[in-house]
Symmetry: C2
Subunit: 271 residues, 2 copies
């Protein structure tokens, strides 16, 4: 019979762990002195302790270890648990690898530039939205070309929705496509919850759900290029691929345009 200290030393575990295993019924001492409460273990109990440690090292919770050791788990169930554990470990390794890649990117950027890189890019899941849309063409993607096109689109769209008695259900979303002749097709959209109909003098479009790399641009849209570039750089550096047209989500549009907040959204896949 060994006291708890000796048993812990032989088993290379802490005394506290043994008390914990006693408390949860995972490893009860062979004998407890009724007067002092002292725990005593048999050397042979090291075998069970070792089984516990071995299963714990595989990443099972103590509750699972308990089930496995006390026969509450059939051979078939054990196979299932091991397969699940394998899947979890593979997922965990993959997630850590993604984190590691992100850290590498930041380290390289900071060592190139000596400054904190653009941290504001986040991958988000964008749900599908139904939009009322008006479309027009612009000469290029520079703000000087876009602004004079999109402004009147939104004014007109607002009026037409009003005439049709429809209330937008959220903030404006614009999206852009490149035409063959390198001009840009500008879509000005407002979320609505109506069925498409010939009677409307605007289109009703369902934007699909997607993963997107996003960045919040603060300030006038005239100065949005650096934010777009930061977004594009990040997407490239993290191994994502752009899919589908970029979107602009107008979060906050007070009269003073220098105080606007816009989320730039680049639908992506991979990573």
């Amino acid at each position: 019979m060994l006291n708890i200290g000796d048993f812990a030393r032989h088993g290379r575990v802490s005394v506290r762990m043994l008390r914990h295993y006693d408390a949860i019924g995972l490893l009860r001492p062979a004998h407890v002195d009724p007067a002092s409460g002292y725990r005593f273990y048999q050397a042979g109990q090291l075998a069970r302790l070792n089984r516990i440690i071995a299963l714990k090292d595989l990443g099972f919770t103590l509750e699972q270890v308990s089930g496995i050791l006390d026969g509450g788990v059939s051979s078939e169930q054990l196979r299932g648990m091991l397969r699940l554990r394998r899947a979890e470990l593979e997922a965990s390794i993959a997630a850590d690898a993604v984190r590691l890649a992100g850290v590498e990117v930041r380290l390289r950027t900071i060592e190139d530039e000596g400054t904190m890189p653009n941290n504001d890019v986040v991958i988000k899941h964008l749900p599908a939205v139904r939009l009322a849309v008006l479309t027009a063409s612009a000469a290029g993607f520079e703000p000087e070309s876009i602004t004079p096109v999109i402004r009147p689109l939104y004014e007109s769209l607002g009026e037409r929705l009003g005439e049709a008695g429809i209330e937008p259900t959220g903030m404006p979303i614009a999206y852009y496509e490149r035409a063959e002749d390198d001009t840009v097709i500008v879509h000005a959209g407002l979320p609505v919850s109506v069925e498409p109909s010939d009677r409307y003098d605007f289109a009703v479009v369902d934007l699909p759900a997607t993963e997107a790399a996003t960045i919040v641009h603060r300030g006038s849209m005239a100065e949005c290029l650096p934010s777009y570039q930061a977004l594009a750089t990040w997407v490239d550096a993290h191994g994502y691929t752009s899919v589908g047209p970029a979107r602009e989500f107008y979060l906050d549009c007070p009269d003073d345009e220098s105080k606007w907040a816009t989320e730039l959204q680049e639908p992506v896949t991979g990573g």
Copy 2:
């Protein structure tokens, strides 16, 4: 101004997270209604929220995120944190890979044999020990050859220690070496804390500290072969390499030998 629900939806986080970030001072609402306690956020605060999420996704704690965002961290310190994080992630991936390999081994074993494999093997660090040792030769490693040699060795060793007035400081440890002619050199040891001396009629040997794969054998040493085989199988399957002579650590040796408990220790490296 957005209420907490809308802000959470835009940021793809839970309301509870925003309250938590408020509580720890990481992201305070732009405005709090004094009467109701309602939190209100500006759309532009999404930029900070995204920074928080991005750094959190790299695996930084919220406290570290707070330090990084609030400028309490210089560019140099940030580099250091990123390097540390990289090392942590690499270690985490390596540890998970070891666990995964262990799970794979178990899965393969259980699918070959349809039964729970030998779980009792555990890697431990064995500290260095000083032993009083008597040595003899045995014909082979089978228990029939070892037992008649080691018994008298321990009897004699006990007597000689008694004559020298030395008390063993722990349980017996035996170790074995293979001679060139394939016979086995048997060392019977008892832990002591004395300096080596010519006056003793036994050797004083320092066994080095080592990592070892260990298994607890319960029962007579006449039946130790299956345990040794399980140990050897495990060492092989997990990619460890044996280094140095195997040891036997006698944990509990009552008169009834069928109740003995012995830890078989195989010094290893790698894994």
